[in-house]
């Protein structure tokens, strides 16, 4: 951590003096939700929120209002989570790659045409898919479906699809091969798609599993 020059600091101070305690009220839920969906442990998530706000407090002089407070704090949290994942990276186990393997087998179990969709598992048409993203309930289902993914599968999915971190960077951070990453992302998407189909798009037709 480097300190900014005293001159700059006092200039920034004079411009705006953010109140760190107010951060808790204004951004606490946002940061907590962000951390919790990635570490899946409320105590750890709370620690991350606290560490983020402390780092924000210490680095306040460097924040000059170029981005919104939330974007700035979110960036600090994101870096803290990446550091955390970096230390966990080496633990990636093969069971993660097994996730959904059976389901994938069943999805493409087709005696007449091997590796083509099994009729019972083929994607069905999603009605009103275009409106889904405007519905608050859709986001609840989306959240609960992504919450069902195993920890590490969910982690790579969130890093890739939500945080839009490059595949290369994810591989380096988590210390996994590109191929493993692809398998994990592919299975995550398959599982999420299936879950959304059952719990959102077909929820009212009664032919859920």
């Amino acid at each position: 951590m480097t300190e900014t020059e005293p001159g700059n600091a006092s200039a920034a101070d004079a411009a705006i003096r953010p109140d760190p305690e107010r951060w808790v009220d204004n951004h606490g839920d946002y940061l907590f939700h962000f951390a919790l969906s990635r570490v899946r442990d409320a105590t750890k998530a709370e620690d991350f929120v606290q560490e983020t706000l402390l780092a924000g407090l210490r680095g306040m002089d460097r924040y000059q209002g170029r981005s919104s407070e939330r974007t700035w704090l979110g960036g600090i949290l994101r870096n803290k989570l990446l550091d955390h994942f970096r230390t966990l990276g080496r633990e990636t186990s093969f069971t993660d790659l097994d996730f959904y393997a059976d389901e994938e087998e069943r999805a493409f179990e087709n005696r007449a045409f091997p590796d083509h969709w099994n009729a019972a598992h083929a994607p069905s048409e999603w009605s009103a898919a275009g409106d889904a993203l405007d519905r608050e309930e859709f986001w609840k289902v989306f959240h609960s479906c992504s919450g069902k993914l195993p920890d590490r599968i969910a982690r790579v999915f969130l890093l890739r699809e939500v945080d839009r971190i490059s595949s290369d960077e994810i591989c380096a951070t988590l210390n996994i091969s590109p191929n493993n990453l692809w398998v994990m992302l592919h299975r995550a998407r398959m599982a999420l798609r299936r879950c959304l189909e059952i719990h959102w798009f077909n929820a009212d037709t009664g032919d859920a599993e």
Partner: protein, 100 residues
């Protein structure tokens, strides 16, 4: 009725599809397109598959929707999980202590 017709037609459709990549392969490729730095265009043989296989075509559309939704998730302000009040108080106290 619709279901009956599609059941009759299905083998023919799948026979046509047999000359193109398998559904399993198409679905894998579809996922990789979101992640690889090179080649986001769909190969010709896969395009042919998508023309005759509505299930895979749907799968691709649905993956796009999931991709779009995930991207929006980061911008969404509503927090589904709330920071507990006790944690709030604890963190505020810790910040006060750090400030002074």
């Amino acid at each position: 009725m619709k279901r009956f017709v599609s059941r009759i037609l299905r083998p023919f459709v799948l026979l046509l599809a047999a000359g193109t990549p398998t559904c399993r392969r198409v679905v894998q490729q579809a996922s990789q397109r979101f992640d690889s730095v090179t080649g986001t265009s769909i190969p010709l043989r896969t395009r042919a598959h998508l023309l005759i296989c509505s299930a895979c075509a749907r799968y691709l559309r649905q993956l796009e929707l999931i991709h779009e939704a995930s991207g929006k998730l980061a911008q969404k302000d509503t927090s589904l999980s709330k920071l507990p009040d006790a944690s709030r108080t604890r963190i505020k106290a810790r910040l006060r202590c750090e400030k002074s």
